[in-house]
Symmetry: C2
């Protein structure tokens, strides 16, 4: 743990708020992995605060779903079962497919063009990173989805989507994505955005549907899971029809 020094440097706002973002950072960046148990005294000492504010931060994060708590046994970094991962993908689909309709309706042309520029820049960056091997590109890809949905101008949906994306990111951190996949993904984005700029609701929705499906099935296969733990044929069939 890099702990204390960093926390000291922040030194602003309430200690419990600091602890919260510090902990969230540790979780999101992988210092704390799913399933890990949080030892209060050790953590508090490492951060350089007392247990009170730390406990409050833990409670808040558990309210947000990043931690689970067992009575008298402490807090654990939440881990996700294959089923829960599929559920999260579906949740994400529900939000994005609705949001893209809103975006087609509401987004200003200027905003869309700005996003388009950004997309081009990212494409170039991916090529440049040919063997660079950062995990950034995945974050960048999430960014596209996030920003596209943001153009739907619905704060509640944005918030939920960001939450779902964070959790998926956690659940899938271990899986690395192939160069090939990344380029495909970027290409998909471009086509989707093109349809949105043309204000084509049905086209946008169907392209995004396909993109989300690909993304899910790819992640699941990398994890060594079949598409659908329960009812393979039905589930696939459903996704196709959507």
């Amino acid at each position: 743990m890099r702990a204390a020094s960093d926390a000291q440097t922040i030194q602003r706002s309430s200690i419990s708020a600091q602890a919260e973002s510090y902990l969230r950072g540790m979780i999101l960046e992988g210092t704390l992995s799913p399933g890990d148990r949080l030892n209060e005294v050790a953590l508090a000492e490492a951060i350089g605060i007392s247990r009170g504010p730390l406990r409050e931060a833990i409670k808040r994060l558990s309210g947000q779903g990043y931690l689970t708590m067992e009575a008298h046994r402490g807090a654990y970094v939440r881990s996700y079962s294959p089923r829960e991962i599929v559920d999260l993908y579906e949740l994400r689909s529900a939000l994005e497919l609705f949001a893209i309709r809103l975006a087609v309706e509401r987004a200003s042309t200027a905003d869309l063009e700005a996003l388009n520029e950004q997309l081009k820049a990212e494409k170039a960056r991916i090529r440049a990173h040919a063997a660079g091997e950062h995990s950034e590109p995945y974050v960048a890809e999430l960014d596209f989805h996030q920003q596209l949905v943001a153009l739907g101008a619905n704060a509640a949906i944005n918030e939920q989507l960001q939450d779902a994306n964070h959790k998926l990111f956690l659940a899938l951190r271990s899986t690395s994505r192939s160069e090939r996949r990344r380029e495909q993904s970027a290409a998909d984005h471009a086509v989707i955005l093109e349809r949105v700029m043309a204000r084509d609701v049905d086209g946008s929705v169907s392209l995004l549907t396909g993109h989300l499906m690909d993304s899910m099935s790819n992640s699941l296969s990398v994890l060594g899971l079949e598409q659908s733990p329960e009812t393979p044929s039905e589930r696939t069939q459903h996704e196709r029809k959507l």
Copy 2:
């Protein structure tokens, strides 16, 4: 406040967990209204616990979005602007419209029939309650949506939907619904369920879309708001097309 006596009686699990469900109860049942400030010492004393666990409960509820916190000024019961209410309605639509597709795919005929029976019973109850004036029927209506979505068998979506419904319930508590509306709503439910039982995806989706739109526009007009605070024509147009 009825406070201490009740809390004493519970006496199980951790005090902070007690405090949490106690507080959530007060919020959901209206003892605490949106905008109210929570005084820690007074609340703690009323419940009969010390401030530590109470603060933890507050932090957890704020993580779940029921409370907002201002530094050195305490916790407030979250209140919703008209815009946020519209956003919540859209979030709910996004979740339900996706979930009903899942339900059409996955729900067992037996489960659907059970829900159908329940619906009939409720219809009868609404008639019986002619001038009974309970707020229950609204809860019952939420129940239908909740259960229908539950048949989609996606825990993440269920959870988010329940959350959205709770928040809408809070935001709209003051508005009372006419007898006429309630019967219309129950009738809608019956038709929707009928389409689901026929495994008709498109029919279910379009009926549910209409039902959700009606529900939203009705609530907003009761609140004295126009459908869309921002761009009336566009927004309405969008909803129609959906």
